[in-house]
Amino acid sequence: MEKKTMRRKGNLFSLIPYYIWIFCFVIAPILLVFYYSLLDLHGHFTFENYRNFFTSVYLKMTLSSFWYAFLITLFSLLVSYPAAYLITKTKHKQLWLILIIIPSWINLLLKTYAFIGIFGNKGPINAFVKAIGLPNQQILFTDFAFVFVSVYIFIPFMILPIFNSLDKLNPALIDASRDLGASKLTTLRRVIIPLTMNGIKAGVQAVFIPSLSLFMITRLIAGNRVITLGTSIEEQFLTTQNWGMGSTIAVFLIIFMFIIMLITGEKRKGAARNGKAK
C-alpha cells in the first residue's frame, strides 16, 4: 500500500509542468479572449462589440463563412469517400495511404502558392482553355479558386479518417448484404455508409472547423474577395488593431466550434487523433 501511494505521488509530481501549461496556454488564453471581447478600443468595459456582431455586416460575413465552409466540406467529402473506398481495395493499401498523406506534410503556404501559378492568366489551365479555343479566363481571385484550393488542401484530412473506418469494416457484412440480394447501391447506402459514419463525422469535423477560420488562402487566392471568420479576426487583430472586436468574433467562432463538435462528435476520441488537420 505504501509503495502504491509513493508511486502515485511520484507520478503526480510529473504533472506540475503539464498543469502549468494547461493553466497558461489553455485556460488563460480562452479567458483572456472572453475578457477582451468586453473591451472597446480604449480599454473601457462595454457590450458594444457584441451589439456590433449582430449588425448586418458581421452576420452576412458569418453566413458567407459558413456557406464556404459547407461547400468546401461537401466537395472534400464527395472526392474523398470514393477515393478512400478504392484505396482500401488496392493491394498495397498502406503504401497508397502514405502517398495520400505526403502532400499534407508539404508546407501549406507552398501548396497555396503553387496555385497562383497554375490559375494565373498565363498558367497551364488558361493555356488549355486557349488551346480549345475559348477566351482567357480569370480564375485566380474568384470564389471557384478559393473553394478549389481549400478542397485540395483538405482532401488528405478527409480521406484519412474515412479510410480508417472503412478499413475496420468487416467485409463479411458486405458479402452478407449481397447474398441477401441487396444491390451494390443498396449495400452502399444501407450498410457501408452507416457503418462508416464515425469516419465521415471525424472527417467533416477536421475540415469544417478549419474552413471557417482560413485566412491566408483567402488573401493569396481569393484576393480579399472572400472574408471568413478567420480573415476577419486576423484583420481586427493585426491590421485594425481592434482586439476587442477581434476577440468577440473569436468568441463566436469558439461557440460555433463547440456546436459543430457536439453535432459531429462521437463518444470516443475521434478526429483529433486521425490527422494533423488544423
Binding site: 507520478n11 494547461i22 497558461c24 485540395y152 493569396l220 478567420g230 466550434m257
Partner: protein, 263 residues
C-alpha cells in the same frame, strides 16, 4: 478481394495526379531560367543558388529549424511527464477533465490560438519574437505528444511496475528502466509530430512573431503576397525532398520496429 475495374483505377489516378500536380509544378519551374511560372526557357540551378546565397533566407531557415527542434524537445518532455501523470490520476472525472483540456488546442482553429496567445504574451510582457514563437510552438505541440504517448502507457500493464517495485527498483529505476523504454515508440512519434507541426505552422506564428523574427512559412507568405518569385519554387523543391525523405524514413523506422516487435 475484388479487382479494381478500369473506372476506379482512373479515378484513383486522377486524385493522385491532382494531389501531386501543384507540387511537381512548383518543383518543375524552380529549374526555369526565366523568371515566372509560365513559359519554361531552359534548365538552371540558379534559383537554388539564390536560396543558398541569400543570408537572410539562411537565417530564417536556421530560425525555423531551431524553433522546431527546441519546441519539439520541450513539448516532448512536458507531454511525456504529463501523460505519465495523467495515467496516475485515479479520479475518473478529474482525468476526463484534464483530457478534454488537453484536446482543446488540437481542435481550436489556428487563428484563435494565435490571437489568444498574442493577447497573453502582450499582457505578461513577453517580447514578440523568438521567445514567443518558441513558447507557442511548444504549447500547441504538448497535447499532440500526450495523444501519442498515452496509448502506449495504457497498453502497459501495471503489474510490470509492481513487479519492478517488488524486485526492489527505486522510483527512478522504474521510470528510466521500465516505463520509458516501454513507451519509447510513442515518445519518438510525439517528438516527430511536434517537429512537423512546428515546421508547418503558419497561422499561429504569424500572430506571435514580431518584426525582425521570421520563420519559413511567414517568409513564404510575404514573398507570395509580393508576387511570383522562383526563389520560393526553389525553396519548395528543397522542402519537398526533405519532407519525402523524412516521411519515408520515419515510416521505414516505425515499420521495422513493428516487425521487430512481432519477432
Amino acid at each position: 478481394m475484388e479487382k479494381l475495374n478500369k473506372r476506379s483505377k482512373l479515378y484513383l489516378t486522377f486524385v493522385f495526379a491532382v494531389l501531386y500536380a501543384p507540387i511537381l509544378f512548383l518543383v518543375f519551374y524552380s529549374f526555369n531560367s526565366g523568371d515566372s511560372m509560365t513559359n519554361f526557357k531552359s534548365f538552371t540551378l540558379s534559383h537554388y543558388r539564390d536560396v543558398f546565397e541569400d543570408t537572410r533566407l539562411i537565417v530564417i531557415l536556421i530560425n525555423t529549424v531551431v524553433v522546431a527542434l527546441l519546441s519539439a524537445l520541450i513539448s516532448t518532455i512536458i507531454g511525456t511527464l504529463g501523460s505519465i501523470g495523467i495515467i496516475a490520476i485515479r479520479n475518473r472525472k478529474l482525468r476526463n477533465m484534464v483530457l478534454s483540456l488537453n484536446n482543446i488546442l488540437i481542435v481550436s482553429p489556428d487563428v484563435i490560438i494565435g490571437a489568444s496567445f498574442l493577447i497573453l504574451f502582450t499582457i505578461i510582457g513577453v517580447k514578440l519574437g523568438f521567445t514567443s514563437v518558441l513558447l507557442s510552438h511548444a504549447a500547441f505541440s504538448i497535447p499532440i505528444v500526450v495523444l501519442m504517448v498515452l496509448p502506449k502507457l495504457q497498453e502497459m500493464s501495471s503489474s510490470l511496475i509492481d513487479a519492478a517495485l517488488d524486485l526492489g527498483a527505486s522510483r527512478r529505476d522504474v521510470l528510466t528502466r521500465v516505463i520509458l523504454p516501454f513507451i519509447k515508440p510513442g515518445i519518438f512519434a510525439g517528438f516527430f509530430m511536434a517537429l512537423t507541426y512546428s515546421l508547418d505552422d503558419f497561422a499561429v506564428t504569424f500572430f506571435v512573431t514580431g518584426n525582425g523574427f521570421s520563420t519559413l512559412s511567414v517568409e513564404i507568405y510575404s514573398m507570395a503576397r509580393a508576387g511570383v518569385s522562383l526563389t520560393v519554387n526553389a525553396i519548395s523543391g528543397l522542402v519537398f525532398f526533405v519532407t519525402l525523405i523524412l516521411v519515408l524514413s520515419y515510416h521505414f523506422i516505425t515499420n521495422r520496429q513493428r516487425l521487430g516487435a512481432h519477432k
